[in-house]
Symmetry: C2
Subunit: 188 residues, 2 copies
DNA sequence: ATTAGCATATGACGAGCATCATGTTAAAAG
DNA sequence: CTTTTAACATGATGCTCGTCATATGCTAAT
């Protein structure tokens, strides 16, 4: 059955959002088109009316997830009262973020898998990393531009590394300690 | 055909080493039993004489990879002339390590995927993280034990985060810059 | 009101997956 | 020397995967 143009656009949107969530939760290889479409409320056959391949979906869903994450970080920095870096970092290293990879930072959920993807996805991620570093440059202290840039990069690395480790570890207390240590270091 | 006990033990060893490499290169889901066994010089059917399931292989291969990585880090710290922390970090954040995930840090190659694995794998990884933190505690500066522990954790986070990001990014220059910034932060 | 177009559903395709049953053969045990 | 055992090969199992051909029936344009 055909649906209205508006409905079709909504379907595409729902597929994208579902994919952005499920890829982060299960990995690119961990979720199939059929399950994904079912979760979006459609049947698997309809997928190829919206995307030409899974690879294309991966690229589009990654773009979506990365943009959302960056927008959220920007908003948190803007609206922060007090230290904006501390505000961003304490959200990033919160137990909420750790427990909910599906709506969180795509690099923390998919980083190593991105490195195995095609050029399209990696370029999108590269742009995101650049943006994130530029954002962090406006938040960190440092006399020279070069000093701030280096600090921005290492700040991002601490955030990412601490979150990935906190998620991998099986011990609640150790996980909490990792998040806390990362946060303390960033706040410096 | 049957082979000698020694040969069989060698076969198991070869399967383990091949798996430890291929999992890090392609992810747990990215490589199948058949391809793995072919790479190890055997046929897929023989696999279940050595391991009861792929999950068991994942656990054993992860143990192997983590132990090897930790042993290498320890040795580098011991044999370093000058600052042992700098020695370990510059190996970890080298372009060689970045370009060769198959023999490098398992957490950097598989971190988010570990978080989705069963208890067995996650416990093994937890032990490794503890060991790595303990090792780094002996290398970092800090007055109190607590201060050194926090520094050890955040140092590990910087190393991991920088390596993951450097691998994900599609731009040689940016990738190099990320490794360098991480290294400068750890040394500094 | 009629028709053309297209967003979906249904179902099938071949490929690849983990797993297992069976056969073969040589090492180990007696 | 005979028998047992077990490592590996071969091939098949049932399942899931990405992809696509076709059918359906509503929407949008005429």
């Amino acid at each position: 059955m055909k649906v209205s143009r508006a409905q079709a656009a909504l379907s595409r949107e729902r597929i994208l959002e579902t994919a952005a969530k499920l890829f982060r939760e299960h990995g690119f290889d961990g979720i199939g088109i059929a399950d994904l479409m079912k979760e979006a409320g459609l049947t698997h056959g309809g997928f190829y009316g919206h995307f030409s391949s899974k690879e294309e979906l991966i690229a589009d869903a990654s773009t979506r997830a990365l943009k959302d994450t960056f927008a959220l970080m920007s908003k948190q920095a803007e609206r922060a009262q007090g230290d904006p870096l501390a505000a961003v970092a304490s959200r990033y290293l919160s137990s909420k973020h750790r427990n909910d990879p599906g709506t969180g930072c795509p690099l923390a959920a998919l980083g190593p898998e991105v490195a195995r993807q095609g050029q399209a996805v990696r370029e999108i991620v590269t742009d995101y990393v650049r943006s994130a570093v530029n954002l962090l440059m406006t938040l960190v202290a440092g006399k020279t531009r070069a000093a701030r840039r280096q600090k921005a990069i290492s700040t991002y690395a601490v955030l990412l590394g601490a979150l990935v480790t906190a998620r991998a570890v099986d011990d609640r207390e150790l996980s909490r300690e990792i998040l806390e240590a990362g946060l303390a270091t960033v706040k410096g």
